[in-house]
Amino acid sequence: MTLNLYWRLDPAAEPARGEPHERPATGYLPREARTRSLTRYDYYAQVARAAAITGFDGLFVAYRPDSDDSQIVAAAVARGAPRLRLIPEFPSTVGSAVYAAKQAVSFQRATHNRLGWAIVSNPADEEDAERIREFLHVARGVHGQQPFDHKGQFFAVQGGGFKAPLANVPFPPVFLSGADEAALQLSAHAADIHLFDDVDLDRLRERAETLDRLTLAADRNVAIGVVARVTARETDDEAAGAGGEGIAGSYAAVADRLVALHAAGVTHLVLSAPQSVEEAYRIGQFVLPLVRARTSALRTAA
């Protein structure tokens, strides 16, 4: 039971950082040497490299309609961060499921299969769960079968399906999320990994059991993940002083919590903290080694 550790980039966070339009125009003593070709994307690329260098397995990119699109960001940083998996978050309303599958195939081919899909659900949209289910059915269908036919509520395909060399590319692992029974039901049928928010271990176990029951009934396997803000510092006091959001404490204390989640069955951890580059280094350098050492000891003991 390997533990997968991801960093999460939020394109809307720290909006001034790397943004050419936010540079002070006047009253500035140092000579300005930054050109127009230095952009916010240089910052995104650095977050990705920070995650790769410090030993994260992958990078989630949050869906923020008012900021840069997650799929553009994921692709733009992919070639500069070898081996890092890239998981853009996006809703199922982006367009055709066939087209999404085709874009995914090209991304997989270009990056040695490093893509994941985190489908964002919208609880305010009544049809959303049904659309996600159909979106994934069609995307997986054209991806894995030829000819593939489908006529549903949202999508219709005739004689679909990819031919070599676009065929036989691994379909991206699908991450879904949500805490209620409907979300768990959807994941039982359509997700590869279900992501929970970080909650206390008892509630997490309870929801995980519900998911397991639904998954068993659907004759599938769904892994469990947790998404968490992290505030890690050298001491517990400093972490509390830094705002103490999310999983907060000394490096050892944060590692304890992550190991406890893993012991409770969590195999995917999606971590984030502002500011993204500095904290990726901090957590990657000081927390992940503790987690890795102890989870591999767990595996050996098991």
């Binding site: 952009t39 055709s96 087209y99 081919r109 270009a110 999508f155 990819f162 031919k163």
Partner: protein, 387 residues
């Protein structure tokens, strides 16, 4: 006056020479010794390169040798331009990504956000080649069962919404195909320029849509008189409809130091065409008017390579040598430049050029043909005629 020259990124593999039809660059043929991206190590294992690495080299060659960007085609069996463009954004500097795109693929508001983000990633290097025609089984393959004229209606509405939300103000729209309420791009995204839009399609439904939204009308190369008439008609009709249209041509070249060398490569290429290839290109079903015009040349039935010479330095058998349009230009560097000059005289404002192999020919045409433009006899003749 300056002319925009684009190159083409072959998104379905490439041949190492126009003389042979084997796709030995990319993985559209089984991995074998001699293939590239992916290739084989000395030990006979996958060398880890991927086709995107080859596309990166072509894009770099094109921008180094003077092309403003490249068309990235989209067909069922190609890699996808929306995946390729952001992947290559950070390793190119001036190369414009001309994304071939069918409006039915993406929600228009999402497409606007994607485009603005790509503009930010590239410093404004996104261009759209909007494809509306096509039809036949491939449309159903894409999950699109719209009829020909409905598709142009949808394209118009798609671009209405795409531009509407780009204003940055809350935008409402009640169309037949799209309805939006209060949607907009954020100030961060709306600050970017709307991508230039290239359009094709010769039917009146297409021209109505183009007049409203397109910057360039794109045509495959056709016999020159026909093309001159078409450009004149497009410019006139779109002007009547209140638009202004520049015209562009997509054409392959075989340019060599001498005319003999150019025709020799074409002849060898023709002689190596297999029956299988002929069968593959024979009678491809489509309801695109432009494609039907090209098919009228019937190169699949030709017995001799020179039966397909349809004019000075014009050869009508290119679709036998690689997928795509049949008519192309063959000649010395000087002659190729003359043909392009003549097309400029006939109303072309921009070009998408291509040559096989795409990497090496980007350098050759960029270095040998483009610098001759505006200096050839054809151009001098036109200048004199204008006086």
């Amino acid at each position: 006056m300056s002319i925009d020259f684009y190159w083409r990124l072959p998104t379905h593999g490439c041949h190492s020479t126009i003389r042979h039809g084997s796709y030995d660059r990319g993985d559209w043929s089984p991995l074998a010794p001699g293939n590239q991206t992916p290739g084989l190590t000395a030990e006979g294992e996958d060398d880890g390169f991927r086709y995107i690495d080859h596309l990166a080299e072509i894009a770099k060659a094109a921008e180094l040798s003077g092309f403003i960007g490249g068309l990235i085609p989209s067909f069922p069996n190609t890699d996808d331009p929306w995946a390729i463009s952001p992947l290559l954004a950070r390793e190119t500097e001036t190369f414009r990504f001309m994304i071939a795109f069918q409006p039915g693929f993406l929600d228009p508001v999402h497409a606007a956000r994607l485009s603005a983000s790509l503009q930010r990633a590239t410093g404004g290097r996104t261009v759209f080649n909007i494809i509306t025609g096509g039809g036949g089984p491939s449309q159903l393959w894409w999950g699109d069962d719209f009829t020909h004229d409905d598709r142009y209606g949808r394209t118009t509405e798609f671009l209405d919404v795409f531009r509407g939300v780009w204003s940055g103000q809350p935008f409402d729209y009640q169309g037949l195909f799209y309805q939006v309420e209060g949607e907009r791009l954020s100030p961060l995204l709306a600050r970017e320029e709307v991508p230039e839009i290239w359009f094709s399609g010769s039917s009146d439904a297409a021209l109505q849509s183009a007049a409203k939204h397109a910057d360039y009308y794109l045509s495959w190369l056709e016999p020159y008189e026909q093309l001159t008439d078409k450009f004149a008609r497009v410019k006139q009709r779109t002007a009547e409809l209140g638009g202004e249209q520049k015209c562009a041509i997509r054409v392959d070249l075989v340019a060599r130091p001498t005319e003999e060398e150019a025709w020799r490569d074409v002849r060898i290429g023709f002689e190596n065409v297999t029956d299988e290839t002929r069968a593959q290109w024979r009678g491809q079903p489509t309801d695109s008017i432009g494609a039907s015009r090209q098919a009228a040349l019937r190169p699949t039935e030709a017995k001799r390579w020179d039966d397909l010479i349809v004019g000075k330095n014009l050869w009508g058998g290119f679709n036998l040598l690689r997928g795509g349009p049949s008519l192309g230009i063959v000649g010395s560097y000087e002659q190729c430049a003359e043909q392009l000059d003549e097309l400029i005289g006939r109303g072309a404002d921009a070009f998408i050029l291509a040559g096989t192999p795409h990497l090496e020919e980007a350098y050759r045409i960029g270095e040998e043909v483009l610098p001759l433009l505006g200096r050839t006899a054809a151009k001098q003749f036109l200048l004199e005629a204008a006086e």
